[in-house]
Amino acid sequence: MKKVFVKPVSLTGKQWHYCPGCGHGIIHRLVAECMDELDIREKTIGICPVGCGVLAYEYFNCDMLEAAHGRAPAVGTGLKRVLKDRIIFTYQGDGDLASIGMAEIVHAASRGEKISVFFINNTVYGMTGGQMAPTTLLGQVTTTSPYGRDKDREGYPIRIAEMLAPFEGTAYVSRVAINTPANVARAKKAVKKAFETQMQGLGFSLVEILSTCPTNWGMGPVEAMKWLESNMIPYYPLGDLKVKEG
């Protein structure tokens, strides 16, 4: 019988600690499938963030590091400068990348570090219990924006992909989502393209992946997917923002 669906070798198979309906499981799988398909598992080193993805080293079946909060692009820079022929990826949430790690991501992108960044934007700090993130939408209620994010009080949400795409050092920047099967398929293509961009030595690659946090949004998984579609995508439009060809 022909196998049409298997667990990627690039995942350990350990049971997720993620909440039911969380997008991390889908995204981990996409990254792992791409590593399998590109046959790069044995030369890939991944870097976990601080946040819900902190335990990703238990799930990816390749060499892994766990970085301090926001510092993954700097750690990745150190790795890549030593191991020029290896594939380096960081896996970072919105608090990690867009708040405390803003300097590291901006400068890694600006230098054109040949690493791939998978940036998971679910508009909240997940692990610490649903606080406001730089990407929290206007009006969105979180535990630290209990009256809803107000532009005059908390300022505006940051669009990371749009910010980094114009940099000379970025070779591939894309925004995708995991709310529908079609979008999941597009997300996988983008993840693969990011790895390929790095393999071709073209420069820095980043895929912003819109994801869900049903627990901290106070919704069921299906409702959360719908909320992503009707609230996040209008503010964070999908598509490639930068594609440098080899």
Partner: protein, 352 residues
């Protein structure tokens, strides 16, 4: 081999190259900048990488990545920059990654000043960042030792899988002396733990998260078993005229050379005075100090700060003799001033 006239910061940089270091991640700060500038020129000549990071935070985390990759990696800074690096240093110590960190010290607190100081002793020796950990800390006293201790530091770092700090007064980084350039180090340590791709083996993980209660405690105990081994094997100190000394001066770094001269002058005046110069500030050479108790009636800690190492001297002496202090800030005292401090202490102790 003929000696070469070198600046302390350059000798440190060249020492790193001789030790096989090919990666330096740094950020400019006075009085350390020549370490970075020297390696920016030098490392590309040996197919190495110098990278000026966007911040001290980024630099130390690049070191974290480079060390995890298995390379000999270094960063350098001074007071305020070393403060910024503390987050990364705590992670590196916990992850047991070997690397070398240079602190070409200046005076603080705050922005302080660029004058020579030893005010970062507590920060270097008592933790610095969060959690229970230690760095190994070497205190050179000459430009030659700036080079030699770079070699020693990389060896100790690899041997014990631990970050090693070289801490010198800013003045030692800036001054020039003749240096005998050492032979390149060829010994390589196997690093089977490195995250450099898992071809032919199970994946390696470099991690500092330990959520299990027993796991975290055991992790700390593991680190402290290693520190106990380092304390047993690696305490280093230089002693001078301590055999019959009634007054023992304790001083480190460049300052210790000034103290040597003052000790000789005080001897001429009939004071039985000697010197213990800690070479490793951590592990602190407490046994070298305790050995002096056979003849010592008092101790005098001389430092370029308000009194930091004196706490370790007191712990070593453990109440068996009084420990006095003489300190300056942002100034290397002259031999004459140190001699006066020695005479004053001797008088106070009834040793004149």
């Amino acid at each position: 081999m003929a000696k070469v006239l070198m600046k302390g910061n350059e000798a440190l940089g060249e020492g790193a190259v001789i030790a096989g270091c090919r990666y330096f991640f740094g950020y400019p700060i006075t009085p350390q900048s020549e370490v970075a500038e020297y390696l920016a020129r030098r490392l590309p000549q040996v197919e190495g990488v110098f990278l000026q990071a966007e911040s001290e935070l980024a630099a130390i985390n690049m070191v974290y990545g480079g060390a995890a990759a298995g390379a000999r990696v270094m960063t350098g800074s001074s007071g305020p920059g070393i403060s910024l690096k503390q987050e990364g240093i705590s992670f590196i110590a916990e992850a047991e990654l070997p690397c070398v960190i240079a602190n070409i010290s200046r005076g603080g607190p705050g922005l302080g000043g660029i004058q020579p100081a030893q005010s970062d002793y507590f920060q270097a020796c008592k933790g610095g960042g969060h959690g229970d950990y230690h760095l190994m800390v070497l205190a050179p006293s000459s430009v030659q030792e700036m080079m030699d201790f770079a070699l020693l530091a990389f060896d100790l770092a690899d041997k014990y899988r631990t970050p090693v700090m070289i801490m010198s007064e800013g003045m030692l980084g800036q001054m020039m002396e003749p240096v005998e350039v050492r032979e390149p180090v060829t010994e390589q340590y196997a690093k089977p733990w490195a995250t450099n791709g898992c071809a032919g083996r199970k994946p390696n993980i470099v991690n500092t998260l330990h959520l299990g209660v027993e796991e975290l405690e055991e992790r700390n105990r593991h680190l402290f078993r290693k520190y106990a081994e380092i304390q047993a094997r690696e305490k280093r100190a230089e002693t001078m005229l301590t055999k019959d000394a009634e007054l023992v001066v304790v001083a480190f770094g460049l300052l210790s050379r000034v103290v040597k001269k003052a000790v000789i002058e005080a001897r001429k005046k009939g004071i039985k005075v000697g010197l213990v110069r800690p070479v490793t500030l951590w592990p602190f050479p407490d046994e070298h100090i305790r050995e002096c108790l056979e003849t010592a009636k008092m101790f005098l800690s001389i430092e370029i700060n308000m009194g930091q190492m004196i706490e370790d001297v007191r712990l070593a002496v453990n109440g068996q003799a009084p420990v006095e202090f003489y300190g300056r800030i942002g100034v290397v005292p002259s031999p004459r001033e140190v001699e006066e401090a020695i005479m004053a202490a001797a008088e106070k102790g009834g040793l004149v």
